[in-house]
């Protein structure tokens, strides 16, 4: 399952980002940053570099061990895949992080689709796993924080979401049915990083939105919109699960008409 590997999001995003912030502000920020951390950082530079590589190779080994223990039965000793599971060569850190941090992997008893569960691994173990998988072959990396702030253009994000995602996930991200018991999950309260990785790697029945389909900035916009929905309750009151006319209709029949019929019974009972 070789999902199309994308352009490095970092370089592409930087180019886009420039027009969005006043250059002066960036310079000021960089200056402040340099003044505050420069001195301290200089002291540790050499040792930090050395320990980064050491740490990363330690991570890879740890990841390798975890992989052999938890994943290799299905995905093969060398990530080559088996009859039951696809190859992980080139899926990239993003895919592993998405699958493992949402608890989808290691896969559980087979259902129509792998579902979210509480993750079995700590953040550090997850990191070890994706570092290990990414060390074998390049693929989409962990998304850069600059796209995950949730403070970009919500209106553009909403537009993109309606055109690209709503047919499966519903306009309000309430989720929806796919064929044969599969479904697109609700997107309320999903972490920004997970959203980014989902778009980038297209888990299971979700299509891949590589950086040509949706640029990293556009992904950031989509995230911003979903975060807007999370943080702003419906202006009209309780949203009844955002399921649209079905929940409205049910609510009307059960609560609305139910109350009124109750009142009629009460009114006519008093008349006797």
């Amino acid at each position: 399952m070789a999902k199309s590997a994308s352009q490095d999001p970092l370089t592409k995003g930087r180019v886009r980002k420039q027009g969005r912030r006043s250059p002066l502000a960036s310079i000021a920020l960089i200056l402040i940053g340099l003044v505050a951390t420069g001195g301290v950082y200089a002291l540790f530079t050499t040792s930090a570099n050395a320990s980064t590589t050491a740490a990363s190779s330690a991570l890879t080994t740890e990841g390798s061990k975890l992989f052999q223990a938890n994943c290799a039965t299905c995905h093969g000793m060398n990530l080559e895949g088996t009859k039951v599971a696809p190859s992980l060569i080139g899926v990239g850190a993003a895919s592993v992080d998405f699958q493992v941090s949402t608890g989808r992997m290691p896969a559980a008893a087979s259902g129509p689709q792998e579902e979210q569960k509480p993750s079995q691994f700590t953040a550090q173990q997850t990191q070890a796993l994706y570092t290990f998988v990414a060390s074998k072959a390049p693929g989409p990396g962990i998304p850069s924080k600059e796209y995950l702030g949730g403070n970009d253009n919500a209106a553009q994000g909403a537009l993109l979401f309606r055109t690209n995602c709503a047919m499966c996930h519903n306009v309000a991200g309430a989720g929806g049915a796919l064929t044969e018991g599969k479904f697109a999950p609700a997107l309320t309260g999903v972490k920004a990083k997970t959203i980014y990785e989902a778009m980038e790697t297209g888990p299971q029945n979700m299509p891949v939105f590589n950086d040509k389909n949706l640029t990293p900035m556009q992904k950031a916009d989509v995230i911003t919109y979903l975060k807007y929905l999370d943080n702003n309750p419906s202006p009209g009151g309780l949203d009844l699960g955002n399921l649209g006319p079905v929940s409205e209709g049910l609510f009307l029949w059960i609560f609305g008409l139910g109350t009124i019929v109750g009142v009629t019974i009460w009114l006519t009972a008093k008349a006797n």
């Binding site: 209106a155 399921l243 079905v246 009307l252 029949w253 006519t268």
Partner: protein, 565 residues
């Protein structure tokens, strides 16, 4: 609480003493009333209306609920017209709702968002309007069910059933046109389905679609046209039909359930003036209050999340408002491979079949009183409402119809059923397809059996009283259970219904029996073959005279019951 009897012969009511008192020292109101009366002779009408009797069963108030929610709709709808712009001119949104800022949309959508976010109370008014619309159609539906199951549509009220039915259709049309006005994604998708539905009709479909939308869908005309329908044409017809409906109601008077003193020739209940009017006024505010409560606490039709209409996107979980759901469900349930080829032409039945089935269903509902009247050959006037059990076949037909409708309705939410109960959508659809056919049959059988059983029970109770649970040991050592007799009042309710027999088919003047008559005879015996006759006076006297009504010995003394089998 005093109840009054209104004789249909229209005997003048005795002059109320209070009005004479008023006449002596005319108050301001009295002289004003007098002023108006001298110029309009309205007092006759007021008297008639004021003495209109309203029976006191809760189900008789459902029509009122519909009326009151319609009033709420009119009030809020008028408010909305002040600010709504029925135009599809493209504009760029620049209102307060952040996730739509700078987005292209039609003026209609823009103005609806403006109502929602920038007009004081606008969002509340929209939500009141929409919740009231849902309640309006729902209460009409329930009201129709009440009429159906109590047989209140029989002569002389068949016409009013037709008018009520037209009101129901108009309400759905009002709802659909209103739902399409804001030009948001969901309503646009709804219109697209209608467009597809029209285009699916053979030969004429495409022409009608172009005519309706003023060109290729979606065009730039449709919102304006729907607006004319929604606020002018349909409400005008609706109000007129409603007027006729209410006038006929006054002329025909209410039906009532059988009870002591309640006969086919009177109406027992509370006169409208003054107590009932006060209650009704109060009830209006209760209905208004419930709608307000829903509208202020619960979002409805959040067009801001749906976004403006654009033919390319579509959302998962796209559904129409509940009252159009049955049509959506029919489209979802029709097998996708229905169709055939003649030469080079494909004839798809995917649209035609559901449209025909629904059309037939709707016509059957509209014509039911006439169909039943023809089958039973019953030309009598009926003013006593049937208890549903006493008309087993009708009640069973009704249950089958409700099941059919409910399955279609459920099918409109097949995707949500699938995700919420962790089922596959194919499985849900398949199950519903089967239920659509078997469900009504099963519902019919069960309902009929239950009705007959209940009638049997009523008959037993009327004849022998009910089991008191008190066991008495007779001097001889024998144990018996004491049966408590009903009071005459209670028994009346159980025994006063009319007996029917299958029609006797007689040859016509030429001495022949036409096929139509034969069919009628067959239908009539289907309608009445299983029945339980009401207890007659003789039977009652026998049962009680013989003295065994008070106590029943252990052995089951089965009474012959007039079932057809």
């Amino acid at each position: 609480m005093t109840t009054t009897t209104d004789t249909s012969a229209g005997v003048g009511a005795p002059e109320a003493p209070r009005s004479t008192a008023l006449a002596k020292r005319p108050s301001v109101t009295a002289s004003a009333a007098n002023y108006i009366d001298e110029r309009t002779s309205i007092s006759g009408l007021v008297k008639e209306l004021g003495r209109k009797i309203f029976p006191d069963h809760w189900s008789f108030m459902l029509g009122e609920v519909a009326l009151y929610s319609f009033i709420v709709i009119l009030l809020t709808g008028t408010f909305l017209t002040f600010f709504f712009q029925a135009s599809q001119t493209p504009v760029v949104y620049d209102g307060t709702y952040l996730p739509l800022k700078g987005i292209n949309m039609s003026a209609a959508m823009n103005s609806t968002l403006h109502i929602s976010f920038d007009i004081r109370g606008g969002l509340l008014m929209r939500q009141v309007h929409h919740w009231a619309a849902l309640l309006f159609v729902a209460s009409i539906g329930l009201h129709m069910l009440r009429i159906f199951f109590t047989g209140a549509f029989r002569k002389p009220r068949e016409l009013n059933w037709m008018i009520g039915f037209i009101l129901f259709i108009l309400a759905m049309a009002e709802g659909f046109t209103g739902y399409s006005l804001p030009d948001d994604l969901l309503s646009g998708n709804g219109l697209r389905i209608i467009d597809g539905l029209i285009k699916g009709l053979p030969i004429v479909g495409t022409w009608i679609s172009y005519l309706l939308f003023g060109g290729e869908f979606p065009g730039t005309e449709i919102v304006g046209r729907l607006y004319t329908l929604h606020i002018l044409l349909l409400p005008a017809i609706l109000v007129a039909a409603l007027g006729v409906h209410l006038v006929l109601l006054v002329i025909n008077k209410h039906t009532q359930f059988a009870g002591p003193g309640k006969t086919n020739d009177n109406v027992v209940g509370v006169p409208i003036m003054p107590v009932f009017a006060a209650k009704a006024g109060g009830f209006f505010f209760i209905v208004f209050g419930v709608i307000m409560l829903m509208a202020s606490l619960f979002t409805i039709n959040p067009i801001w999340t749906y976004g403006p209409y654009d033919p390319s996107p579509i959302s998962a979980g796209t559904q129409p408002d509940w009252y159009i759901g049955f049509a959506d469900g029919a489209l979802r349930l029709v097998p996708s491979d229905w169709g055939f080829m003649i030469g080079d032409y494909t004839f798809s039945l995917n649209i035609v079949a559901p449209v025909l089935v629904l059309g037939l269903f709707i016509v059957a509902v509209a014509a039911y009183p006439f169909i039943e009247g023809w089958i039973t050959g019953d030309k009598r006037e009926h003013h006593i409402a049937d208890r549903p059990r006493n008309a087993p076949t009708r009640t069973a037909i009704g249950a089958a119809g409700v099941t059919f409708y409910a399955v279609l309705w459920a099918a409109a939410s097949s995707d949500l059923i699938a995700t919420h109960f962790l089922l596959s959508i194919e499985g849900v659809i398949r199950t519903l397809q089967i239920t659509l056919i078997l469900g009504p049959i099963v519902a019919y059988q069960i309902t009929k059996r239950v009705c007959l059983a209940l009638m049997k029970k009523d008959r037993e109770i009327a004849l022998h009283g009910f089991e008191s649970g008190r066991i008495v040991r007779l001097p001889g050592g024998e144990y018996i259970e004491v049966h408590e007799q009903l009071s005459d009042y209670e028994r009346w309710r159980l025994v006063s219904f009319q007996d029917y027999k299958p029609l006797m088919i007689r040859p016509n003047a030429q001495g022949r029996i036409s096929t139509l008559e034969r069919a009628r005879g067959a239908m009539s015996s289907w309608f009445f073959e299983d029945r339980i006759s009401p207890v007659t006076n003789t039977e009652l006297e026998q049962a009680h005279g013989a003295g065994h009504g008070a106590v029943e010995t252990g052995s089951a003394d089965g009474h012959e019951i007039g079932t057809g089998h």
